[in-house]
Assembly symmetry: C2
Homo-oligomer: 65 residues x 2
């Protein structure tokens, strides 16, 4: 799945989002493109869980594709 995640301003934010996704989808591959506000998660279809984890970390999930 691909998510548009707003509010990732730096590398620490990337790491925080990465960790948040991994907590709910430990086996997933997570690719973060901060400049595009894009998070690609492969190996998990738990979109709601991933979205919740990212929101709980303090970032806005603007879309899931």
């Amino acid at each position: 799945m691909e998510l548009i995640v707003k509010g990732m301003t730096c590398g620490h934010c990337e790491a925080a989002v990465q960790r948040a996704v991994k907590r709910v989808a430990p086996k997933a591959e997570v690719i973060i493109e901060r400049a595009r506000a894009r998070v690609t998660v492969s190996g998990s279809d738990d979109a709601k869980g991933v979205e919740s984890a990212i929101r709980a970390e303090g970032y806005e999930v603007a879309a899931i594709e």
Copy 2:
């Protein structure tokens, strides 16, 4: 001392700068005002050490007052 520190974009950055300063000045009080790009360090006069620690963390120290 007061430092102007550029590049702190989020709370994670604040925490990283806080930790960096504490490593070289464990007993110092460190107050970070991100919106003003300002870091106030009380209880240490090791300006060079503090500056180096912040730079090593990846932030620009634009001035020390």
